[in-house]
């Protein structure tokens, strides 16, 4: 059977795309991009993290364009990003410089700077709040203003004013005591997996970049599998912090000076685990992701450690972990299964028919 070129379908495709527009615009109320950005911020965070692009307005636009599909939104952002030049790389950013909004430790009760819950769903009742069906925007606005006013009054009564939100790392206490495993410092230039194919075995920088932009569900599932029994023992969250980081670049018109570009919000985790499989000592797994996403950052720290430990667990297999979790790649590959495979499938049917005919012929003779 030869290849057969087919045509047609363009009109159906155009009609399908038009139908998408109809689906996207169902109902009577317009969906403002600013509403998605401001009130669906955890979804926006997830899209930015998986796209590897911190751009809240554009992530919200992408979500509007694709009816809220995370995989489509990530695709749109990645595609747009590829049209832009990259003229700058930031100066190195340190998590210890974070303006902290949330900071907890499961390892220590008393930590310098205290445990700050910040905005978290950890302690809410998972009961549908039917009052939100009738939520009044004017009342909400008045409530927000009242809260702000009370806070301003509290600030005015604070003699030294508020801090800038910078607090020391929890694990620095253990570092100062020399209780943490020392990992050899990697001073090489970071690998950039957006510019080159992931090298195997991967350098540490490629591992962290790949995990940071991986699909949230994928790395959460792998991390769960790892701690449930396929990998290392139960980790302890030494510190989880969420907050904003200031991004600076070298100022091009003055040597040694820096220029402030803006701020990005990230979640950073240091997990405490065994230094060796089943052994003594304390090792650290590191996770850092765009936005407010505790689970993804914890999962990243678990997988980071699993890949360092190099055990027989599937989560210690760098190729398995790192090559199958990119939102765009995995959904793209799975999507291609919907494209016409007429020729290959017909060929398979022909083969089965031929075998059947041969078998029948053999029986008759």
């Amino acid at each position: 059977m030869a290849y057969v070129a087919v045509t047609g379908g363009q009109e159906a495709i155009a009609a399908s795309i038009e139908l998408l527009k109809e689906y996207r615009s169902e109902g009577e109320l317009a969906l403002e991009i600013s509403v998605i950005r401001d009130r669906m911020s955890l979804l926006v965070d997830r899209i930015m993290s998986e796209a590897g692009l911190y751009a809240p307005d554009y992530a919200a636009l992408a979500l509007k364009q694709c009816e809220g599909s995370p995989e489509e939104a990530v695709f749109l952002l990645r595609a747009y990003r590829s049209t832009l030049p990259r003229n700058y790389t930031s100066r190195t950013v340190f998590g210890s410089d974070m303006h902290v909004r949330r900071r907890i430790s499961a390892a220590f009760k008393d930590v310098p700077g205290g445990q700050i819950l910040g905005p978290t769903y950890d302690y809410v009742h998972r009961l549908l709040d039917f009052d939100l069906k009738e939520e009044d925007e004017a009342e909400l606005e008045a409530w927000r203003e009242q809260v702000k006013q009370e806070r301003r009054e509290e600030l005015d009564n604070t003699p030294d004013g508020a801090s800038d939100g910078r607090i020391p790392r929890v694990l620095d206490m253990l570092r100062q005591e020399g209780l943490l495993e020392q990992v050899e410092q990697d001073t090489s230039e970071p690998c950039d997996v957006t510019m080159e194919k992931l090298p195997l075995p991967p350098p540490r920088s490629a591992v962290l970049q790949t995990l940071s932009r991986a699909d949230t569900g994928y790395i959460s599932g792998l991390a769960y599998g790892d701690i449930r029994g396929f990998g290392m023992a139960h980790p302890t969250v030494g510190e989880l912090r969420y907050g904003s980081l200031e991004i600076e670049v070298d100022y091009p018109l003055g040597e040694g000076e820096s220029w402030y570009v803006g701020e990005v919000c990230v979640t950073e985790v240091e997990s405490l685990v065994s230094a060796k499989p089943g052994g003594d000592g304390i090792g650290i797994g590191y996770g850092c992701v765009f936005g407010r996403n505790d689970t993804k950052a914890i999962s990243m720290s678990i997988l980071d450690r699993a890949l360092v430990l190099d055990t027989d667990s599937p989560t210690s297999d760098a190729e398995f972990v790192l090559l199958h979790g990119d939102c765009l790649e995995m959904n793209g590959f799975l999507s291609h299964l919907k494209l016409p495979h007429y020729v290959t499938f017909q060929s398979k049917l022909d083969s089965i028919r031929n075998k059947k005919r041969s078998a029948e012929h053999g029986t008759k003779s």
Binding site: N87, D110, G165, I247
Partner: protein, 160 residues
């Protein structure tokens, strides 16, 4: 408003587009302004330090608007997160005023000083949003290990 370039650029970023345009407008009227790098979007890759091996990795990119100008031969630059080209252009003009120490600096500086105060106030308010979520632990049971047995403990009802 004569601090280092980082602080200066942070104050510019905290201003609204309209604020910066109104500060830059008189400069653009009175001086010869050349656009050296037209306002455009660019990616900025974020380089991050991790804590296990103290190595750097690329966290991800962000979008920023960049511009470079020359005001009477004095160069000015701006790179601001987002896609606000007008704001980046106005900021680059103001940066040129600072680099050239032009006369308009005296007019603009007090306004940027006010913007700086407003920015600091907002930063304090932002930090204060989270202060109340700090946990105060209360120890609910005390240990009597190092003390003489209490009456209740002798009866077997004390907390251990």
């Amino acid at each position: 408003m004569d601090e280092n370039k980082k602080q200066f650029s942070k104050v510019l970023a905290s201003c609204s587009t309209e604020q910066l345009k109104s500060l830059a407008a008189p400069v653009m009227e009175r001086h010869k302004v050349e656009i050296l790098r037209a306002p455009a979007k660019t990616l900025v890759m974020i380089r991050m330090r991790e804590t296990v091996a103290n190595s750097d990795f690329y966290l991800g990119e962000t979008i920023a608007a960049e511009a470079m100008v020359s005001v009477d031969g004095h160069k000015g630059f701006a790179l601001m997160m987002g896609d606000d080209m007008e704001k980046a252009l106005a900021a680059a003009v103001i940066d040129a005023v600072w680099n050239g120490n032009l006369a308009e600096k005296a007019e603009i500086a007090p306004k940027l000083q006010l913007a700086h105060q407003s920015m600091v106030q907002k930063e304090h308010e932002e930090t204060a949003r989270y202060a109340k979520t700090q946990v105060n632990f209360h120890v609910m049971e005390e240990s009597y290990d190092n003390e003489a047995p209490q009456k209740t403990a002798q009866k077997g009802g004390g907390a251990q």
